[in-house]
Subunit: 453 residues, 2 copies
């Protein structure tokens, strides 16, 4: 994906000017003409003293919309400057899934004080959402949705939706349920609109229902919505009764965050909770030093292996010349293989059970890569050294590329089997391990062929 | 993202049994109860001779739905087994954006023959879509949408939508336009449903419009839909008149594909057009060998550098022991830095113009990382060698980590400036370059401090 270069004049600048000059009308016009997401972004760049004025100018409903799009640390900061009643009013305007996410980030006493000031009904709903495990589908669902009954007529269903559309988050896809909330089918709102009013809802229903259990992982919700092109995914309890819905815009954020996590892990960076823009120096240091130190330990083995083969190095100095080429190429082939597997596992393109079939394929691809690279290094070898040296480094290249590819390909599957994230098979990890094994293979082959040591 | 393990019994197996036993009722039930995406997946695993029977059983509309979700090569294969009339009928059932995508993959004569057999109106629309540049927003928009006029009453608007909802792809968000198609505002369908029928549409409109020009990049469309949590993004011409709409499910696929491309580039794999599952051995070989060979050439420089410092190696053998540790750590720190930048650029978290600020931050983080790693290697050095050696390798470690981090951090921005994909700054490329420079720094520092050579 190419980088995005913002060209528009800064909204933050315009807002700041309006705020400093006290131009209320201009301010209202600006906040009316820009999406809540842009106002939330601009707010972060404004001095703290303007936050309150800007929020007052937004009005209740829009203030909640902007608030919902602020980064977590700004949300918390803003709440801490409000008393419990003001805070409760703001939280009360949020949709339940957004409200639960905000409360989850607060300290327990603070969250409880805010909850206590909310209406009884809201308290119950938020407490039930917060009772689901973190990262579960139940945590991000919204319990505000409208369902219809199959025995109703289309006119009755539309009346019912009209009455409930104010509280329901989306009404593009409507679910028909039994009195106990069991899913019977779904229908698009536009299909209802198009049907004759006296038709029964039953006849308009589609029966291919995709749902998710509340305790399942959010990522699985994201995968289903993405795979089945859904705008709404119903969340059900273990008996199949509908508890809430997850909408496509909720999972876009999850997909983006999960993918970023995978990118970072693949480069041996521990999970950064914030955006790179907002991450502190201390956090960046802490998230990077861990793997660097672990890999230094692996690299000590490389040093040990080289020292072990010192006699060979002194006997045939040309071997040192070709060493970086061979072990780096093995590491690179391994990084390619592991990345292909990690990404295909993450998108659901392949499953853990495909290991054997993909392993066979990788053996063939790696053999082809190894032969091509061995041939080119053999030519360089005969040109710069003896035929014997050329043979030794070519065989070593082939074996190291084969080892690197198979190791890189296998590690993500092993991690999956161990219930770890396959993305832990980072390029730096693969490269470091292939370095160690590659040095042993390289000097082992050279010692045998050149009859050293 | 954790790998997904499929546990359900295979739909392909069930379909196959029903097809082989000729159980038509079971077949109809199976295809009715499963989403089109699952049927499309299962089809790929069925023998070719069953494809036709299965498609006949689906009925026109659902056949088109399943067809739209087949991988490109299966779509082409199926079309080639149909005569032009049959092919045109299938293409005619697809939504325009899906139809344009299929025609785009066919050979020109074949595509033209199918186009010719379509109704005049469809031909015109498809030709206009195919005239937009590849990867542009215009290519993936659907021209089937309904708009309303601000001077209408809500009742008139709803009647209009009801009349046009059969052809319009989505009606969740409605755009109000001038007679010339200029965007005036948007309103949610549920807001219209909730308003009094005699209200004017004007009073229900939101004015914060996000749109995209038809010639802009698809990725930009994906970014806007994702950033603004839109379900529909209007596509406009250079004068701001609406041409079509892009829906959120269209961009989920684009985001997934672009992200996969980034993952592959970051591991020095050229773009794989197919899924890993379906990629042939030859394609996998070709997409991996290119960078491996280029990096071998870079690694030749590493070998040359080492050979150049042979005298130092022979004088102080301990230097070889610490070499892999120092240069690998520099490469790892560089891979971390480049991945953080590439991903943040791709998500829009940072912009190309942030280079200077992030560069300063990286200098500080890299200094902290370099000092910590230098301290640990210094301790190992004094333990295994002399104080002088410890000093030399610690200074080298600090400088190599600093160089690696800054190089890894800078390269994505340089590539962006050159209008290349920042993801070309792959971990293998960074590692290989840092290897070469790292060897020179390492032996340069060692030669100076140990007064060798």
């Amino acid at each position: 994906m190419n980088a995005i270069i913002k060209e528009s004049p800064s909204l933050a600048q315009e807002l700041r000017t309006a705020l400093e000059r006290g131009e209320g009308d201009l301010l209202s016009e600006l906040v009316g003409a820009h999406p809540a997401q842009d106002i939330a972004l601009a707010l972060g760049e404004l001095p703290r003293q303007h936050w309150h004025t800007l929020f007052e100018r937004l009005g209740h409903e829009r203030a909640a919309e902007v608030y919902a799009h602020l980064p977590t640390e700004h949300q918390t900061e803003l709440l801490q400057n409000l008393d419990h009643d003001q805070a409760s009013r703001l939280i009360g305007e949020l949709s339940y899934d957004d409200a639960a996410a905000v409360l989850d980030e607060l300290q327990d006493e603070h969250a409880e004080a805010i909850l206590d000031a909310l209406p009884e009904g809201d308290q119950q709903i938020l407490n039930s959402l917060l009772a689901y495990p973190e990262e579960s589908a139940g945590r991000i669902m919204t319990p505000e949705f409208a369902t219809v009954r199959p025995e109703w007529t289309v006119a009755e269903a539309l009346d019912h939706l009209r009455e409930h559309s104010e509280i329901a988050e989306t009404v593009n896809t409507i679910f028909a349920v039994t009195p106990k909330g069991q899913l019977l089918g779904w229908v698009r709102l536009k299909e209802l609109l198009l049907s004759r009013p006296t038709t029964s809802v039953q006849t308009t229903l589609h029966s291919d229902i995709v749902s998710i259990e509340a305790h399942e992982d959010q990522e699985e919700a994201a995968r289903r919505i993405s795979h089945y092109d859904l705008d709404v995914l119903p969340v059900v309890d273990e008996w199949g009764s509908i508890l809430g819905i997850i909408t496509v815009d909720d999972v876009l954020d999850i997909i983006r965050d999960e993918t970023t996590e995978d990118f970072h892990r693949m480069a041996a960076v521990a999970d950064l909770p914030l955006s790179l823009r907002d991450a502190s120096l201390k956090m960046l240091y802490r998230k990077r030093i861990g793997w660097l130190v672990i890999l230094v330990v692996v690299n000590i083995l490389s040093g040990t292996a080289i020292t072990f083969f010192e006699a060979s190095i002194e006997a045939v100095v040309a071997l040192v010349f070709f060493l970086p080429m061979v072990i780096a190429t093995g590491g690179n082939a391994g990084a390619q293989a592991s990345t292909l597997m990690v990404r295909a596992l993450a998108t659901g393109d392949i499953q853990a059970s495909d290991w054997f079939r993909l392993g066979l394929k990788e053996i063939l691809v790696a053999t082809a890569l190894g032969l091509a690279l061995a041939a080119s290094i053999w030519l360089t070898g005969t040109w710069l050294g003896t035929m014997q040296i050329a043979n030794a480094i070519a065989i070593a290249m082939f074996l190291v590329v084969l080892f690197g590819s198979l190791f890189g390909m296998t590690l993500p599957f092993v991690l999956t089997r161990l219930k770890l994230d396959p993305a832990t098979a980072s390029a730096p990890l693969i490269t470091s391990v292939v370095d160690v094994v590659g040095i042993v293979i390289y000097f082992g082959v050279a010692t045998a062929i050149l009859q050293l040591g």
